[in-house]
């Protein structure tokens, strides 16, 4: 299962309890995220107008979203004019069907894939496998997850939860090779040798898209390894699955985006490979190009005035790396290919607010605000988390406690009475005492002899 999907099979707190037990995972994650964060801080500090660039990025995405339908129609027209074909997929199932149909029309039973989280969202690999088509991941980390029958745990670094020794053992077991060392270069060489033959054999490739530009009809993918470019140029048929929110109106918007994305994601000034293509070119590259425009819940998110900002996301993963919750629980605790703070707001919105496990995700945050501070397009994740919490179904016992607290706090005479004789203090402390999780790790505060207001009233006498 290297696809992943976005439907959590258990609540966040249950899944986190499992992942928190894994000390190796916590160590791997802590090391990796700290390294990326400190590199990111340095390269972000190099840009004097970083804050203005963030504002520009958030504004251009908002404008793109405000005219989404128009932008998509222009994109369709331009892609078709450049020799491509455009498909509209309302659901994940429809998108998978379209890919399978294209593969079958070419008698293709194996496709190579550019790293694409959108394809993971729709569980493309499993969907194709059910129709006898093998999808091979070519991104190193995605390949690791696929070989390990594991799901990605990070948007950008899908195998972040594994260390190099684990990867070496995996390659030896699954690829039948002997690795001399666990050095990254040696492991990458093994993957390179394994993948080269696959690129040369592949007749069809599937990619996602980091962006598309409506006015030019071009699609862009940024990556670090060059494996994506192999997929984008060698096969005869190229299929791109793109979430509809990725379309930008103008070519110049790419410049702003590209100032924000690499620094926020890989902590690089510029990513090593940026591939941009427009339709097909006779005799050069894929001779057939299909663009699948995927909705899968996005128009519902767009219709929500508060939740809409979630669609600004450019999948940089900066919010994951800075998140203290993600750093400790890892991505698998979120039960979705969209983990971390962005996943905590995106997943429940895409699935609909009634999904009982996804609805635990907005609570998977201490609201510390590190994600909002890091987000290159200024998605106010804490705000959306609080907003979504208001839309989740409440547990009856919890509701009655909050209603009782509200009843007391909505009238100062009731509140003052509760404070007299330390009753409120005692009830807060004993309330916490009833929660085993709290008292396992923390001691109760002492209840003072008198409240502040009692002190104040005595003072005035």
């Amino acid at each position: 299962m290297s696809g992943g999907g976005i439907r959590p099979s258990m609540s966040f707190s249950d899944a986190a309890r499992e992942t928190l037990k894994n000390r190796t995972l916590r160590h791997n994650l802590g090391f990796a995220t700290r390294t990326i964060c400190s590199k990111r801080e340095k390269v972000v500090a190099e840009i004097a107008d970083w804050e203005q660039t963030r504002t520009a990025g958030s504004m251009l995405k908002d404008e793109a979203l405000a005219n989404l339908e128009e932008n998509l129609l222009i994109l369709e027209e331009k892609v078709v004019a450049a020799g491509g074909k455009v498909h509209w997929a309302a659901t994940a199932t429809q998108a998978v069907e379209i890919v399978a149909m294209i593969a079958k029309s070419h008698q293709v039973s194996k496709v190579v894939k550019v790293k694409s989280i959108t394809s993971d969202e729709i569980e493309l690999n499993d969907g194709l496998a059910a129709q006898g088509i093998t999808a091979l991941e070519t991104d190193l980390a995605e390949l690791i997850c696929q070989l390990a029958d594991d799901s990605p745990s990070h948007i950008l670094v899908p195998a972040i939860h594994k260390n190099r020794d684990e990867i070496r053992a995996l390659f030896e077991a699954k690829l039948g090779v002997r690795a001399e060392t666990s050095e990254p270069a040696a492991l990458a060489e093994i993957a390179r040798t394994h993948l080269r033959q696959k690129f040369l054999e592949a007749k069809m490739a599937v990619s996602g898209a980091n962006f598309a530009v409506a006015e030019t009809g071009c699609i862009g993918v940024v990556e670090s390894e060059g494996n994506g470019r192999m997929c984008l140029t060698l096969p005869e048929v190229l299929v791109t699955i793109m979430g509809i929110e990725k379309v930008l109106p103008k070519w110049e918007d790419v410049a702003t985006l590209m100032r924000l994305l690499p620094r926020s994601s890989t902590a690089e000034r510029m990513n090593p490979y940026t591939s941009i293509w427009t339709g097909v070119t006779p005799g050069d590259g894929p001779q057939e190009f299909h663009l699948i425009l995927l909705d899968n819940g996005r128009t519902t998110v767009l219709a929500d005035a508060v939740g809409r900002q979630t669609l600004r996301c450019i999948r940089c993963s900066a919010c994951l790396n800075v998140c203290p919750v993600y750093q400790r629980t890892g991505g698998h605790a979120y039960g979705s290919v969209y983990p971390g703070p962005i996943g905590a707001i995106l997943t429940p919105q895409l699935l609909g607010m009634e999904h009982k496990n996804a609805n635990t995700l907005p609570f998977a945050s201490s609201m510390c605000g590190a994600c909002y501070e890091a987000c290159p397009v200024k998605i106010n994740i804490p705000e959306v988390l609080a907003y979504l919490r208001g839309k989740t179904a409440k547990n009856p016992a919890e509701s009655s406690a909050f209603r009782a607290a509200f009843w007391m706090m909505s009238d100062h005479r009731r509140f003052s009475a509760a404070l007299k004789g330390r009753r409120l203090g005692v009830s807060i402390v004993s309330g916490l005492g009833l929660v085993k999780g709290w008292t396992d790790s923390r001691e109760m505060p002492e209840v003072p002899a008198e409240s502040f207001r009692t002190w104040w009233s005595k003072r005035g006498q």
């Binding site: 629980t329 945050s365 605000g369 909505s410 509140f415 999780g437 396992d440």
Partner: protein
């Protein structure tokens, strides 16, 4: 000036000493301090837990009490952030333009205590004395939502007798997060453990912050493990005086 105290519900019930220290500080700075006993809670707990309707009623109630005040000071970064930021957001969610407008009018009138001292000065008048080895944890709402970063540290560094040690990984959340510490207590405890380790590694006597909610959590973690450092609110450090 005349200052209305905004003593949060948690401080009122469990940490009255912080309110007392805040009163003393403001009076020593020459202000006239008032406390309106109609105050209860700003609604942060309800808002952050998803009880939006109740939170909005508490927000409107809060505004009824404070909107005519000249200046309001509170010893809690997170409650000030709730008024300053979340009242407007909640108004936006529910298209309650009246709430948005009323909340916006609090701009420039409501201050967290350290923010107030940093803006208007007065450390020379207070001349606090606290002869202890101390570190500072920048609580998330104060540091990020109010944009104070680690500026309250500047005040601590001016305290007589105080031996200041900077906390490593100081921007890491302590894991409290209100109901987060109940709903996701295991994750919260993992965050708390790391915070307590960084504090204990410094060999300090006290960890200071501007929010008693976070300090309740950190102090509870330290005491549970029988560790030496204690927690104390910044107001109580700044109110401390050299014995005469």
């Amino acid at each position: 000036m005349t200052i209305q105290l905004f003593i949060t519900c948690l401080n009122d019930a469990l940490y009255p000493g912080t309110g007392v220290a805040t009163t003393e500080i403001l009076e020593r700075l020459g202000h006239s301090v008032e406390f309106d006993p109609r105050q209860t809670c700003c609604g942060q707990m309800h808002l952050n837990s998803g009880y939006t309707d109740e939170a909005i009623q508490l927000a409107e109630r809060w505004l009824d009490i404070y909107e005519d005040a000249e200046c309001i000071v509170s010893p809690s970064g997170s409650c000030v952030a709730n008024v300053r930021e979340m009242f407007g957001h909640a108004g936006h969610w529910t298209q309650n333009s009246n709430l948005i407008e009323r909340a916006a009018k609090m701009d420039g009138k409501l201050f967290e205590l350290s923010e107030f001292i940093l803006k208007f000065g007065g450390m020379d008048v207070l001349n606090p004395y606290f002869p202890h080895r101390v570190t500072y944890h920048p609580t998330c709402h104060g540091a990020r939502a109010l944009g104070l970063k680690d500026s309250p540290e500047q005040l601590l560094r001016q305290v007589q007798g105080l031996d200041f040690v900077e906390l490593s990984e100081k921007w890491q959340c302590c894991g409290f997060g209100g109901t987060f510490s109940l709903k996701n207590s295991d994750t919260s405890a993992a965050m708390l453990q790391d915070k307590c380790e960084t504090i204990c590694a410094l060999d300090v006597e006290y960890c200071v912050a501007i929010d008693n909610s976070c300090l309740m959590h950190i102090g509870g973690g330290l005491r549970k493990d029988g560790k030496v450092p204690k927690v104390i609110h910044l107001a109580e450090v700044l109110a401390s005086q050299e014995p005469k």
